[in-house]
Symmetry: C2
Subunit: 253 residues, 2 copies
């Protein structure tokens, strides 16, 4: 039975996309069947996996609007996971869904048709708490919050948890918070550790391990269209996501 | 006569907010009268300048909806610039403005009342190309594009320039692109330089100088509620924004 994880944080540039791509690849290395869903109109996940969104005729946009089934749009990737890709058309989804009853449920409904075929479904959210993120939260079993442990990330956590709370009340009772994943982690100073402890205590959130270290190797991976597990396989950044995947599998068993 | 600059990039976490706060403070140090406008519902600029958005009863949200004048909401900051602050209410602006004729012009109209009092007005945009960013582009004389010179930033530039193009055609003929500002710049490897050259050639964009170096000092500033020009005044990060301010003033004279 599949586990669906919304990878969510409305703050920009905290490695949501990088975490979905890398964790997805790591779970495939460990033999799991994985689907990644790109919910960002900027389609960074799609691009990072070697697919040019401008070459696509259909994307998750048509699936959300009920014009295509997920199975018709899902594609395979060189890294191993399957991908439900995004294109810039998704920018119109918010307006398109605005007046539709049950607009928060369209992703959940679409994924029900394919969830049997996967062990893990990871949802890459855009940097906002709009209809796309609410759809992800309404479709998910758990929320993973990538967190760059700097002062400005502290503020967003409360707002995100308020949204999770609303989703639990109104559209998805079963949603739980898996925890925060410390990303872009700079272990050289106390600043990151201090911010991480403050957030985890203030909001009583589990902290996933290990923290993902800040390393330039990550910036190079999207240029090749592969995750860091392929571009810098023996590097500590790849190792951290492999260890995270192993930890998540162990926690689930 | 004032110059209004939209600091825009739909990619998250590329130092839009940090650039607005730091450049604003640097222009004040050089004797200019400066207004900063926070257009992000996450209100990171407001928070970075030492103001808790949750303490505010009114914000730019009421100004955009025509319920308050900008002059009624503008406040002063310890760093020197004035601030038109944001609160989470702004998240509702998109929906609130959706059906309003001329919704792209509400910010421009609001700023006309106060522009006489300032030499520079800097607009901090959220990580999206929605109605708030379009308002900023429609109100601005120039666009500054903070750019983290990594592969994933390359993709967004084309989309952003398409939006600028549309705004020039439909709502603001006078809009021009000031250029890209390299931020979070890691000069130790060739990667950043390579990406920067590729972007500047592909899109024929001016590159503002100097690049802003990646340094942990920036992460600490928001905790104090002051810009880096106050928290690490003699550090090279502060120096870079001071040099940028001087270069912009020289270019204008
Ligand atoms: N551990 C890391 N070390 C160094 N750079 C990283 C790391 N993780 C991600 N990056 C880089 O940081 C930038 C932001 O990462 P990413 O795009 O994954 O964040 P995001 O949260 O998905 O952003 P957005 O909010 O725009 O969707 C990218 O250029 C990425 O390559
Ligand atoms: N030159 C720099 N060196 C190191 N860290 C920096 C630098 N500039 C900004 N930062 C940090 O990077 C993070 C992202 O910066 P910032 O919030 O200004 O980006 P943004 O583009 O406004 O993000 P968003 O898209 O979420 O609005 C913040 O934690 C900030 O303190
Ligand atoms: Mg992303
Ligand atoms: Mg910002």
């Amino acid at each position: 039975v599949s586990l669906t994880v919304a990878v969510t944080n409305q703050k920009g540039g905290v490695a949501k996309t990088t975490s979905v791509a890398s964790l997805g690849a790591a779970l495939v290395e460990l033999g799991r069947r994985v689907l990644l869903v790109d919910l960002d109109p900027q389609a960074c996940l799609t691009f990072s996996l070697g697919i040019d969104p401008e070459d696509l005729d259909v994307s998750v946009h048509q699936v959300l609007l009920g014009q295509k089934s997920a199975a018709d749009v899902i594609m395979s990737t060189d890294d191993g996971p399957d991908l439900l890709p995004a294109t810039i058309e998704l920018a119109g989804a918010e307006a398109a869904l605005l007046t539709r009853t049950g607009r928060e449920h369209v992703l959940r409904t679409a994924l029900e048709d394919v969830s049997e075929e996967y062990d893990w479904i990871l949802l890459d959210c855009p940097p906002s708490l709009g209809v796309l993120t609410v759809n992800a939260l309404s479709a998910a079993d758990e929320v993973m919050i990538p967190l760059q442990c700097e002062t400005l990330s502290h503020r967003g956590v409360g707002q995100l948890l308020d949204t999770v709370h609303d989703v639990r009340r109104f559209t998805n009772r079963g949603l739980s918070v898996m925890g925060v994943l410390p990303t872009l982690f700079d272990g050289r100073t106390k600043h990151a550790r201090t911010v991480l402890e403050a957030i985890s205590e203030t909001y009583e959130l589990p902290v996933l391990e290990p923290p993902i270290p800040k390393t330039i190797k990550f910036a190079e991976a999207p240029a090749v269209g592969r995750s860091i597990l392929s571009t810098a396989r023996s590097h500590r950044g790849a190792g951290a996501y492999r260890q995270l995947a192993a930890n998540l599998l162990e926690a689930r068993s």
